[in-house]
Symmetry: C2
Amino acid sequence: MSAPVEGLVRPHRLRAGDRVAVVAPSGPVVAERLAAGREILESWGLRVEVAPHVLDTHPRLGYLAGSDHDRAADLQRAWLDPSISAVLCARGGYGAQRMIDLLDWPAMRGVPPKVFAGFSDITALHEAFAEELGIVTLHAPMVASSAFIEDGVTADGLRRALFEPERATVLSAPSARPVASGRAIGVTIGGCLALLADGRGAASTRPSAAGTLLMLEDVGEETYQLDRMLTSLSRSGWLAGVAGIALGSWHECTPDLEAVRLVMEDRLGDLGVPVLWELGFGHGPRSLTVPLGLPAELDADAGTVTYAMPPLV
Amino acid sequence: MSAPVEGLVRPHRLRAGDRVAVVAPSGPVVAERLAAGREILESWGLRVEVAPHVLDTHPRLGYLAGSDHDRAADLQRAWLDPSISAVLCARGGYGAQRMIDLLDWPAMRGVPPKVFAGFSDITALHEAFAEELGIVTLHAPMVASSAFIEDGVTADGLRRALFEPERATVLSAPSARPVASGRAIGVTIGGCLALLADGRGAASTRPSAAGTLLMLEDVGEETYQLDRMLTSLSRSGWLAGVAGIALGSWHECTPDLEAVRLVMEDRLGDLGVPVLWELGFGHGPRSLTVPLGLPAELDADAGTVTYAMPPLV
């Protein structure tokens, strides 16, 4: 490539003693899991503040952690609190799209950037943080999720990105192999396929993936549903001009992983850009921490994504 | 309302002896079911032509009936054949979105309108027929579906719409009751929620539901997924200005129908337009035939949709 690829603004790294907030913008959180995740964060020397409504459940819609207003207020309060260095999501599920438009983005733009981390349903918030605040965020395991609690490699990946970001600049996985060969450079975006498909056209989402390195994963979908979402992103023009694609986990997608690979090959294999299979981020028992908004090079044959710089300064 | 609501162009009704084509734009068809459905059509005096690729299965993607090219060619050939009076879909599933852009719409615009019928995945084709051809279509039970084969009331609803369209101008169901009271007038659009959500932004789909009576149903989705799709349609502006909403069946949606009703109430109840619950179209063992593209009045309290004219001339 000739023109430089510009990334978003990078927040500051964490240090022992920093305060971090845990929020739940999406689904209800299990208290025991939250406690286990909190212990890990505290073992890193962080002071952890659990936002007031993290353990709420919406009065009528049981798939939501608290009311839309309360979930938004928790996130916004943590973001505007100058003593908080990072905002970490407790879990995904569903609900971020219901609270995004309640956030006071101008107010949030008025404070210095800080770390924001999560994935799955949080994909909608990654899009919004990129679009509204223009900052690098972390597609990362969540505090009350089993991968974070139970898999030391997964938790340590987040720890490295937060505390030693210069050691978090290469993504690779033993399973990675090309769907389509080649190398490409772009700024990373993406996350959960369903959220990207459903987010199109909303405020606080970007109009297209043109010029980017697109990270994609999902959980519990049938292959025809994955096809439908990819076809939809393609038909609407959102995928046009994407520089390269790195695929993560397809945990509990049915009927099986090989069927998923055939869909990806069918829908993405002839775009004329490199596509990497099974990079090892997303749902599932082990997951990489993936910086979003940062320039990187995808090498589908080497099975790597290499960032041009650390995700945090 | 003051301004007249204009519908789309109405095709001609069928008469005994007419030839009809059965096509499979989406998922694979079971031969025995197709044979049973064909018998019903023949019992109405129709001469039935099954398109060449209806019983195909895609070589790699088992959820598709034949290749995209063949599914499109079957539909297009039937549409352009002047001896065919109606094109009826064998079943839904998934796949219409993959073949829509392969259809030669200018050529299809060049022939007189004829009946097109189906639902579920076929929602994407209803949108395209409205947008590209400007004609009334029938959201109707499909030839190789169990509701059509096994439920005489369901089959007879389609028969009435096709042969005695002046007897197919009122939709009602014992289960119908208001989510939001009131009356509204508009041209009917809609179908399967997932298809409408995923179709946004594509060629051959309408940019918004403004001014319409929106018919919505879906199958096998979890409540959070229904919420996500409705939230997505709302956030992108697609729902803005809708005149009224009639909800059909939510067959096999989990955890249960009451939970679905709560989602509909939460997402649609405060739009300020009448919303009718359980009008009895869509998936499930019994289904109404719903004309799309025709002006009608929704009366949420009476539990009815009353068309201003018969769907066919």
